[in-house]
Every structure is written in C-alpha cells, then in structure tokens.
Subunit: 204 residues, 2 copies
C-alpha cells in the first residue's frame, strides 16, 4: 500500500496478525498443560468489553471455570463427546446472557435515559440478549487469539443443567461454552471447507 498519510487505524494489520486471528487459527480439541493466569483472564475481559453492542447493553456474563471443584460441577453437564477436552483445557468459559440487562442501561447508556424501557417486551429483550451476547462471544474468541490463546467453542451441553448449577436465582441463561488455553494439534480435524464468496455474499 502506498503511503497516503492516513492515521494508523486506517491500515491493515500484518498478514502474520491476520493469520493468528483468522486464517491459520483453529478450533482446538486438545490442550497443553500451560496455565492461563488470572491476569491474562482479566486482560481478555478488558479487551472483550469494548466490542460494540446495541445501546452498549453488553449482556454477556462470563464464568471462568478453573478449579478442579468447579470443573467437577461442569463436566457431567457437557455432552459426552465434549467431556474429555473440557476436562483437559485449563479454563472453561461459560458465556451467559443476562435477561435483566435493561437494569444496567441507565449507567451503560447514560445519554438516553429512557433506553431501559425500549426492552419492555420479553421476546425483544431475549432476542437482544441472545444477539449481543453472541456478538460478545465472537469478540471474546478473537480477543483470546489476539492475546496468543486458543479457543474451542461448544454448544453440546445441558442448558437447563448449566442454568441450575451456575445461574440459579438470576436472570442469566447460558449461551455457549468455550475451552480456553494453549491448544495442541491432537485430535485436530483437517480444516473443513468454507462457502465461497458468491455462495454466502452478494454486492448490490
């Protein structure tokens, strides 16, 4: 790209960085025993939190499962095919969505004091929590890769069981679960095909 005096944010990241985030990154099914520190978990949250959400509602809630005691509560709720890798990963992250997110809006979206009332309809509130917590899940996984970590997202678990075990008495519902750590190449599938541009997109 020719020098054109645009600020740095108008420039693409290096191919090495794009590889790390997208092109060469892989969902991991096996994990080294290299630990993930609490400081790194907090740094990961501090990147994730800045991703855009509707009226800044940031409905995602994160339970970082790290101790053997907590893993023992989670593993039986995972689908059978997900248990061994979930046990092996140094961290399992339950990403939930808080259906009570409107209560946070007076603080999170202060320039529209009525924003809380825009979600009075239960179905619309759930849709927004689902969409935006999923977006945040996407930010979370790319942020993890940006910090040099690997991820392994899973939908195969007992959602009612996870709700009862980890979110009882709250308006939080589980969305999906991510294994987090430093992956190995064990049990790595060959990269599956992707849809071509013209199958998934159009320019009109």
């Amino acid at each position: 790209m020719a020098f054109d005096a645009t600020p740095a944010r108008d420039l693409p990241l290096s191919d090495t960085a794009l590889d790390q985030l997208f092109t060469s990154a892989r969902t991991r099914n096996a994990w080294s025993d290299r630990p993930v520190s609490e400081a790194l978990i907090r740094r990961l949250y501090d990147l994730t939190k800045f991703g855009p959400t509707a009226v800044n509602n940031t409905p995602a809630r994160f339970v970082f499962v790290t101790s053997p005691e907590t893993k023992a509560r989670l593993i039986p709720l995972m689908g059978e095919g997900n248990r061994a890798k979930t046990l092996q990963a140094p961290v399992n992250v339950i990403i939930g969505m808080d259906l009570d997110f409107p209560e946070t809006l007076p603080r999170l979206f202060p320039h529209a004091p009525g924003a809380k009332d825009w979600f009075a309809d239960a179905a619309g509130r759930r849709d927004s929590a689902f969409r935006n917590s999923s977006l945040q899940g996407g930010y979370f996984m790319i942020a993890a890769r940006a910090l040099g970590l690997d991820v392994g997202p899973m939908s195969g678990f007992d959602p009612e069981g996870v709700k009862a075990e980890f979110f009882a008495g709250t308006a939080v519902e589980p969305n999906f679960i991510v294994n987090l750590g430093y992956g190995t190449d064990e049990n790595l599938f060959p990269r599956s095909p992707r849809l071509g541009f013209d199958e998934a997109a159009q320019i009109l």
Copy 2:
C-alpha cells in the same frame, strides 16, 4: 515477555494492534467519502469465513449494499435515527441468517455425514442460526477493523421489510445491519462506561 521458544501464535499482538481492534476502536456514526473496493470486501469475507461456528455451519449471509439504487431500497426500511448515517456510509452490510443451513452441512462438515439431521427441530435450527450468524457478525466487525476499516452496527430497522426486500423466496432472515467504511469523529458519543470485571465475570 521473555523469549520462551513458543510458536508465534502463542504471543500477544502489539498494543497498537489491540487498540485498533478493541481498545481504541469506536462505533462510527459519520463517514468519510473514501470508498471501499470490491477487492477489500472480498478480503474481508475471506477472513470472516474462518471464524469458528457450530459444526462449521456458517449460517451468516452478507448483502453488501453499495449502489445508489440499492441504498434507495434500504434507507426507508431503517429506523429514522439510522437513515442519514446509513446513506452516508460507503457500504451497508445486511447480515442475514440462513435457516436452510443444514443443507450445506454434507459439504461443510464432511466428517459427520449425519450432521444435517441434528437440526431437524425448527426451534433448535433457528437458535443455532441466530447464535452462529451473530458470532460471525462479531468476527466480521473485528476483521473489518483488522483491515483498517470502521464499523457501525445497527438493530434499528424494519426486519419484515428487509426480509421482503432482500431475502424474499429464501430461508434467510435479517439479523443486523452494519455500516462499513472509514469513519469520521462527527457525531461520536463519548465512550460509554463498561461493566467492571467483577460485575460481568467470575473465576470459579
């Protein structure tokens, strides 16, 4: 970080790159007239498509609205507060979700020939399309920033109208819409607060 012979993918990106993706990036409400080329749109798709989805189902579908004729079909379907900026942005991206994604699984997830049948239940199929197309929307926005672009996501539009105008006769439903281009600081809100780690997360 001390040199420890780990491969490059185990290292964090630079603070400058993390700023560009997350920390300093902002949802833009006004746009310069700098165009976005078709080559850049295709490069953006080619990063986005590699983000992880359940059984590689990649249900997101992308309509890149670039021509005045197509913008004229979209603008009246946007919420009033979103019309001026949607008109100004060089590209508007309608991100849809294809409820017929199971039809693609024999090709996209070839090592599990029965995967298509895991989504026979309509509610489960819709949940997976919604969750995974939203994840892909998250990948898309971070990939755009990684390429030096800015984004402005919006949920304020007439979903039935967008369905009828852009996805008639298909199983695709609109999820959300993203303005894409090179933003300006005009109409930029001050950065809104985020939840602290202990409000949104716990380590157990």
